[in-house]
Symmetry: C2
Subunit: 449 residues, 2 copies
């Protein structure tokens, strides 16, 4: 199958779909190649008994203008993630209720945590979003892992554990695997650690009524036959007048430009002819994605709310380091979303399905009471097991990577352009970031064609 | 083209070739798939006017039994890398002659360097070669980059610079990019830093008279039509009775086993069906290779020897951090091999060919006198630009990688076995290590078939 088009887009996650939408909006023709049998990429919604379950990216923050603009273009609705009620912290084999962002702990632990967070916020303010590699201060932060920094600066074990949970939670890897600079960059990109970690007023504030994938489906519908599912791209050849992209099923696309909108370690698997510039190839080899296991227990109703609980918990003595309330405002059904990140995702992932379900529900029961052990349904999903994501939630910069190879992050290679939430400056690592990256790449194409 | 064979081997570097030789030696049939139009992988010899030039792996140490055994099987000859004469250190814009392993420096710098080296050696002795990930002490060392360790423990700038040069030299990357544990592992694998860095009695002691690739060519000759050049493997499918490997040119190989003997970031580009276990896939995504630029200046004779110089130099104020004498014992022709590693390789690589030649020869002249600026010929090669190596000299463990994913390093996945110098315990990262890994993988196959 031979296609001729203005722009070929590899990947139908929010980055690729947005690029396609913006380009068709200004009269460009596109062909979107997607490996999976669905759109959305690391966003994946399953319908469930009149409601929906989000197994991947889920949330919209209040200041995330790009995704909100798209939501309003499609006339879609959001609802606030439940935040009313007390939170629960599981620690030292016990549970404690608390309000606010930081759990009630010993004065020393609170101090350690508070000082650590303030230091991180203060450092993050100095990280430039556009080109952190060009800033001389960045190098010091890029030389060390976030884990090494925590070991040196967070002396109280509980504080270190909770700051470590924060790194694991946003980076989906052990803190030793990620550059301190990347963690700071993410904080800066979110306008502060509090935004990054908060439900009300923060990154976890809202959800789409139809599920996070619903808007991707709506974009895909508009694209019609320009979108080819189950068609993984395999090679990109630069030619005099443009590019040729080949994909499974003998698909060949000639285009003026190509936008690569897949995670870096998948882009590294494409065959480029001529080969990519060395710095770009090496960058793609240095941005692996982590592990994230999302565990959804579905109940008839959000019974914890009647007990004064928000559904939000932190686990300092458990691989389930975080839960949130995933239920609709009505609380029917009730959904507890649990998360295990990096090494903990692998620890739980190594269990049999039955063992994992039992382990997770026992932990939910500890935090929410005995009713939690008998859900109507239980599901979980580990993104590192997905060959077409190769990890979640986003790819990270290992120490020493971005100060050396960062200039290649967004720079087009001839007519090859790069999108994906990994290339976003604002809302880096989120759905909003993916959308912004798609808009930026579309603009690049328009400006150079 | 359909092939049926006992064992398919992906990659005809020393790991794959050795595996093929050992397997055919016990009566197994093999098919070796090689992407390039030559064998040797990261070892590449060009003939030059009756002599030879080695652009990749070059050296054999005295205790490297596996490679020496193979050398004697083929009746090949080696010669000692010239070590007689004084070494030169380029520092602070000047040059100084010295003997021994460590240059003459200020007492403080010598102390810093000596203490640093002794500490590294002492730590390295505690790293187990077989399964460093299973040793609790390893985790602390894996949490930090070698660069962060140097920043904290090498306080005198010259000492830090020279220890940094050591890390760059053996890892081909900025010290911030590599786990301290990997650097220690390499030291342990070499039986000490002194072995790793030395010419006489150490890793750089000998060279093959016919060039490092000559023995690979001899193995290839014995393999005859079992070796397919210019046939890059693309996919590995596990089937009930074995594996199916496909490659360019419509090549399809059915085999009882496959040995993957290519660098990790190239193995990560293969399409596996069913997908690799997540830990293996994630490990392959986390072992990028570095940059190494090798610069060969060829003179009528090794004129520096008459001047009492060994040809060995260290550059503390130059991107060319090391040179060695690459000439035959006769000193005719005379060859200076210069090396730039990691960021310095990229710095020199960014110059035009002419600028780079001029820069390199000016630096050679500074260290060896004005005659060095007029070689009969000049060549250089950057391994990171090679799509079928994707970097050199070997792949490294980023911080946090091996203690989490190390168990997947050599563990077969069904009938898929893993070779390559990256999987070697003894002589990790060398030609000898590659050969040992091929022998180990061949033995695995024999024992399980």
């Amino acid at each position: 199958m031979e296609h001729e088009t203005d722009v070929c887009i590899v990947g139908a996650g929010y980055a690729g779909l947005t690029a396609a939408r913006r380009l068709t909006g200004v009269g460009k023709s596109v062909i979107v190649l997607e490996a999976r049998d669905r759109v959305g990429g690391r966003v994946w919604t399953q319908s469930y008994d009149g409601f929906r379950l989000d197994f991947g990216g889920t949330f919209l923050g209040p200041d995330q203008d790009a995704v909100r603009k798209l939501v309003s273009e499609f006339g879609l609705e959001t609802f606030p993630t439940n935040y009313e009620g007390e939170k629960v912290m599981a620690i030292d084999g016990a549970t404690r209720r608390y309000g606010g962002l930081i759990p009630k702990l010993s004065v020393g632990a609170i101090g350690s945590l508070g000082v650590g967070m303030a230091r991180l916020d203060a450092m993050a303010k100095k990280v430039p979003l556009d080109a952190p590699w060009a800033d001389p201060r960045s190098r010091r932060w890029d030389q060390q892992s976030a884990g090494a920094w925590l070991n040196r600066h967070a002396h109280v074990p509980v504080g270190r554990q909770l700051l470590g949970a924060t790194v694991r939670g946003v980076m989906c890897c052990d803190p030793s695997e990620v550059s301190l600079l990347h963690f700071l960059y993410l904080i800066r990109s979110a306008n502060g650690l509090s935004n990054l970690l908060s439900t009300k007023g923060g990154y976890q504030q809202d959800q789409l009524v139809g599920g996070a994938q619903s808007m991707a489906n709506a974009i895909a519908e508009d694209l019609g036959p320009s979108l080819l599912l189950q068609t993984p791209a395999r090679s990109i050849t630069r030619e005099d007048a443009g590019v040729r992209v080949t994909a499974d099923g003998d698909v060949s696309v000639r285009a003026g430009h190509v936008i690569v909108a897949i995670p870096p370690s998948l882009a590294a698997q494409l065959h480029f002819d001529p080969p990519l510039p060395t710095e770009k190839a090496q960058l793609l080899d240095r941005m692996p994605a982590g592990s994230v296991l999302k565990m959804l227990a579905v109940y008839d109703d959000a019974f914890w709310r009647a007990d004064g609980l928000a559904g939000e918990t932190v686990g300092a003595d458990s691989p389930i380091e975080m839960t949130l309330d995933g239920s609709p405002p009505s609380g029917r059904p009730g959904i507890i979303m649990g998360f295990a990140f990096g090494p903990y995702a692998r620890q739980l992932g190594a269990l049999s399905d039955d063992e994992r379900r039992t382990t997770v529900l026992a932990e939910y029961a500890r935090r929410f009471g005995p009713r939690a052990s008998n859900p109507a349904d239980y599901f979980d999903h580990e993104w590192a097991n997905e060959p077409w994501s190769r990890g979640g939630m986003m790819s990270r910069w290992a120490p020493g990577t971005i100060t050396q190879f960062g200039a290649a992050l967004r720079t087009p290679v001839g007519r090859i352009h790069w999108a994906g939430t990994e290339t976003a400056t604002v809302s880096h690592g989120t759905i909003d970031g993916a959308i912004r990256s798609g808009e930026r790449a579309a603009l690049e194409v328009v400006e150079t064609s």
